[in-house]
Symmetry: C2
Subunit: 243 residues, 2 copies
DNA sequence: GACTGATAAATGTCAGACATATAAATGTAT
DNA sequence: ATACATTTATATGTCTGACATTTATCAGTC
């Protein structure tokens, strides 16, 4: 893990890669302490600021954490699902906005993946997840709710549905797909009629999940996808006509 | 975007967060040049090394790129799907290994998501994607193939299947799910009989995709999931008995 | 024995300097 | 006048040395 070519550029990137590879390969195990910055600087034959830049790169990916003080240093971080969510969401959100992904494409992907969760969620849903879904449905039917709050509640509802699968890998993968849609959804103005249609479908989905009816859950999600896409379509055409 | 409390710790993290938020919020648009390191140091009232650590954090997330020279500096990076794959795969791989995710859990998530791609792939598959799948099936039936090469070909086959949906968001999301399984798969020793069963299912899936038969494609994936899980199960029990 | 202070080790931060890459401006020769 | 070479300015990349801050450990005192 100590090889640097004579290329004296991007030293910190090279060092970060060397350490990252060691972690991924399992040469550095979780909670293990890395050598101190001074020792690393010695080993790689660079200065301490260069080592620090490399460590900050790794910290940005949550691969290490640092601790100050006498017994401090850089430690291989135990990457938890919860910590990975944020990165996943940030990356997914930027991917959608920067690549000008159409609403249809993002919507198709999100609901395709979510439908994949429906059968598992219908089998394994706990009372807890059901209660969250019901509570969000109730929140969504409050009259004074802003569009943003409506969207946020929508996200919570769908994440509860995904979490109901009891599979943390699915929850992690879907976090990006569901949350990254929020900025796109926030561009939509929901009429009372729109909200009512969405809430009805949420109700249908929650009922199906409660009844262990995977077929109706998937059907509900499909109907919700159609509803969302036509809704977005009409908003887009209305906006195009106005301008 | 210039707020730093008087807390004189983690300055580089705070600065990175401020810039990251500005990018995500759209205040800094793609390809836009950030102020020079010296100017940023002035604005945030910190030293240049601290600014540099913040910029390296952002570079690690592919949010910015840097260029040396007269017209150089830090630029908001256009995050492409291809660049995001690596991060996604690294994170997913570490998540599985560090959280001791069971083979069953990872396998369930991966095939659930992949089955969600089957209908779209069956409708939209191009000759190109089909050719890749056929080529990988052929490679997998070569006699002298190592287990690692067999797994690698398996990954290529499944990624072609996902890419056949023509939805880059799906390809991105599935990249982590499919590739992160590889280290787990590599722990398995495949007998000739095992390989034959897998290849037969790959054949069935490819045939279904070619025939636009989404039902058989999903069925084939389901059978492959069962096959993979029983295979892993037998390997695990054999290993437990040996020790 | 419990509390207090000194010590040491590590990260966090700073200042100034030099090295290097690169584009633009300048100068020179054909 | 154009093409090419040189200089110059600007920015990142790196190094050195220093100080500040946090924190665990050890020594000392009541």
């Amino acid at each position: 893990m100590k090889i640097d070519p004579d290329n004296p550029a991007d030293l910190s990137a090279q060092i970060a890669k060397a350490i990252r590879d060691a972690i991924v390969a399992g040469d550095l195990i979780v909670h293990q302490r890395l050598p101190s910055e001074a020792e690393l600087a010695d080993q790689f034959d660079v200065s301490r600021p260069t080592v620090r830049e490399a460590l900050k790169r790794l910290a940005a990916q949550s691969l290490i954490r640092t601790q100050r003080g006498a017994t401090g240093g850089a430690f291989v971080n135990h990457l938890r699902f919860e910590e990975a969510y944020d990165q996943q969401i940030t990356t997914s959100t930027l991917l959608l906005s920067m690549n000008a992904v159409s609403f249809d494409t993002a919507c198709e992907a999100r609901f395709a993946l979510e439908r994949a969760c429906a059968p598992l969620a219908a089998v394994r849903r706990s009372p807890d997840h059901l209660a969250t879904m019901r509570a969000e449905i109730h929140r969504q039917s409050q009259p004074g709710l802003s569009d943003e709050a409506f969207c946020a509640s929508d996200v919570t509802f769908h994440r509860a549905l995904v979490d109901a699968t009891g599979n943390p890998v699915l929850s992690y993968q879907l976090a990006g797909a569901v949350e990254a849609m929020q900025p796109l959804m926030n561009m939509i103005t929901f009429t009372a009629r729109d909200r009512s249609a969405i809430i009805d479908l949420h109700q249908k989905i929650a009922d199906a999940i409660e009844a262990h009816d995977e077929r109706n859950a998937a059907d509900g999600l499909h109907a919700l996808e159609v509803e969302t896409r036509t809704l977005a379509q009409s908003v887009m055409t209305a906006r195009a006509a106005r301008s």
